[in-house]
């Protein structure tokens, strides 16, 4: 039966790759089929309806709340001009030196990446950051990659991601935080190396573009001006609270929302702005929320006793126990997290992680190390992830060009993560 379940998983991957089914729908369908194949009854204990669908759907509720709060804060950073001011100041200070501007945008992207993820994070840093880099001579592919690499630097400190791995892998937040702190230096070094090396290799580029002047004057947005300097600290507030003072994730994010609000908004306008950005945050959060409902359902399915029993011998046979082999095999498998592949942690990879833990093949913290290492690759180089698609298209290049340029760097990050995992937890 284990082989049949794996074949069903492969069919699910094919459906996602070929875009026959959106990932979230494919994961729910997979979960239901796996549950039936595992011999789960329709209702009752360890059943399809009560366990997989009813209990699985809200299993990642804490992550969903964190996602909503992160998106809310992201909307506030946009609407109050905090993100725009950060990028504008960087261009003003470093505009003569494209590498300096790119490093500055990298830093802003990293800050934004600690708050929110996916396409909204890329937009916050990239809407101004990408054309600003291009305007000072950074080549387009390098500019798009810079925003993505920057977000990936922030991802180890993205609080909703901590919550996700904590809930999905049933690990304390402290454990997740501990590993993320170890993963961060790899992401940082790779990102800085990307900016410096790629700018050096490619040099600067200036184009006589037909798009440089608009035939019609651009519609004037409400003039916001620069946000005050102390408001620019808003993205750091949740991080300082959660990382430095070990405050829980949701209150830390709420504190960030409040800080961004009070430092930029007149008291009479606060209610209106809070509601507007909260509802805007829901809109931004909708796609990941749908995905997290589906992942919760899939995790519930692969943890059913029948599924664990069927998959355990197969997974044990193919999973290396030797630390060196572990690093080699799982680093070589990095491309399988691209294109919605089976190791994508925000897809079937979550299910595979669940199986590895449920069957006891690896300790949960080792699976955390593997999954977070893959997440560093997926978040930057996957040409189907929304942030990559958005950043590439906005820069006027293809997501595949960005993948080719960034993959060597994030592959090394994954290698670093795997080495730490093998050294500490195997």
């Amino acid at each position: 039966m284990g082989v049949v379940i794996l074949l069903v998983m492969a069919a699910g991957v094919a459906a996602m790759l070929t875009r026959k089914l959106p990932t979230a729908f494919a994961l729910v369908l997979l979960a239901v089929v796996i549950a039936f194949l595992s011999g789960a009854p329709l209702t009752g204990e360890n059943s399809v309806l009560d366990t997989v669908l009813q209990e699985g759907a809200p299993a990642l509720a804490a992550t969903m709340v964190a996602i909503i709060l992160g998106s809310w804060l992201g909307r506030l950073l946009d609407e109050t001009g905090i993100a725009g001011t950060l990028v504008r100041k960087i261009v003003e200070f470093g505009g003569d030196r494209p590498t300096v501007v790119a490093l500055g945008v990298l830093a802003v992207s990293a800050l934004v990446g600690t708050v929110t993820g996916s396409a909204p994070a890329a937009m916050l840093a990239g809407i101004i950051g990408i054309p600003a880099m291009v305007a000072v001579g950074v080549p387009k592919v390098t500019a798009a990659g810079t925003v993505l690499m920057g977000i990936a630097v922030g991802v180890p400190f993205e609080l909703p991601v901590w919550q996700f791995f904590s809930t999905a892998l049933d690990l304390p937040v402290d454990t997740v935080r501990g590993f993320m702190v170890k993963l961060f230096p790899f992401a940082l070094v790779a990102a800085v190396a990307y900016v410096v090396i790629e700018n050096r290799r490619r040099g600067t580029e200036h184009a006589w573009s037909l798009k440089s002047v608009a035939a019609k004057p651009a519609p004037r947005r409400e003039r916001l001006g620069d946000a005050p300097w102390y408001a620019l600290l808003a993205p750091v507030v949740p991080l300082v609270l959660a990382l430095g003072l070990e405050v829980a994730i949701i209150p830390s994010l709420l504190a960030g929302v409040v800080y961004a609000l009070v430092t930029t908004t007149r008291p009479g306008e606060m209610n209106k702005r809070l509601l507007r950005t909260l509802y805007g945050g829901f809109e931004v959060a909708a796609p990941p929320l749908a995905l997290f409902v589906a992942i919760g359902i899939l995790l519930a399915a692969v943890k059913l006793p029948g599924a664990v029993e069927a998959l355990e011998p197969l997974m044990k046979a193919v999973s290396p126990q030797n630390p060196v082999l572990f690093v080699l095999v799982f680093t070589l498998l990095v491309p399988l997290c691209l294109y919605r592949g089976p190791l994508n942690v925000f897809g079937l990879g979550a299910g595979i992680a669940g199986v590895l833990i449920a069957t006891g093949i690896y300790p949960a913290v080792a699976v955390l190390g593997m999954a977070t290492s893959y997440n560093q690759v997926f978040g930057v180089a996957d040409p189907t992830s929304t942030q990559t698609v958005w950043a590439a298209q906005y820069a006027g290049v293809s997501p595949q060009q960005v993948m080719v340029r960034t993959l060597p760097y994030v592959w090394l990050v994954a290698l670093g993560g795997m080495c730490v995992t093998a050294a500490l937890y195997l």
Partner: protein
């Protein structure tokens, strides 16, 4: 009402060269919320700076290719290795646009190619020499003021305005290449800047 705010007219020549330079700056990221008068001041300054530049030789390798219209480009300078790429299909279209609009007196035959070379030569000049700092000083923008301390700020897009003004001057054009760029953008269907792609949302 400033020129920047003026409604688009059928004849882009109705907008003067500084007006087009203001539009270029207004469309450059980091200037979205700037005072139009400040943009006009910067446009004038950068235009004057470019027009006053001594002639610079283009030492970069020159490559001609087509495919410019597909990318919305007329010419491109890359520093590694120093290369100026001229897009022949866009230049040819520009010459046709000049004829169609009756602008030949402003842009003599062959002047578009010469202007493209001059434009990119200035980018190379600004990239490698001290002229960039001089432009920054001329613009007089400060990124930071702390008491007596003044940190000069970069004005994104000003080099582009200067490069167009230089090309206009050394090639003896009657109007800025920016006017031609705007007409080309309309002709090539790229007149509107790319959307912010805020709606380009897919699953995760």
């Amino acid at each position: 009402m400033t020129l920047q705010d003026a409604p688009a007219t059928a004849d882009p020549a109705a907008t003067d060269d500084i007006g087009w330079a203001v539009r270029l700056l207004a469309a450059t990221p980091t200037h979205e919320h700037r005072d139009p008068e400040l943009l006009r001041h910067w446009a004038r300054t950068a235009d004057a700076f470019g027009a006053a530049l001594a002639p610079v030789a283009c030492s970069a390798r020159i490559v001609e290719s087509d495919g410019g219209l597909a990318h919305g480009l007329l010419a491109r300078y890359t520093s590694r290795p120093p290369t100026v790429e001229l897009f022949t299909d866009t230049i040819a279209l520009a010459e046709r646009v000049v004829d169609a609009r009756g602008w030949r007196a402003w842009y003599p035959a062959g002047s578009v190619r010469a202007a493209a070379l001059a434009h990119e030569a200035v980018h190379a000049h600004l990239h490698h020499g001290p002229a960039r700092a001089a432009l920054k000083r001329a613009l007089g923008h400060h990124a930071l003021r702390l008491g007596r301390l003044r940190v000069p700020g970069h004005v994104a897009g000003a080099e582009e305005v200067a490069a167009h003004a230089y090309a206009r001057t050394v090639c003896g054009l009657g109007r800025s290449p920016l006017l031609l760029t705007a007409a080309l953008a309309t002709e090539a269907g790229t007149g509107n800047l790319p959307s912010s792609a805020r709606d380009a949302r897919r699953e995760n």
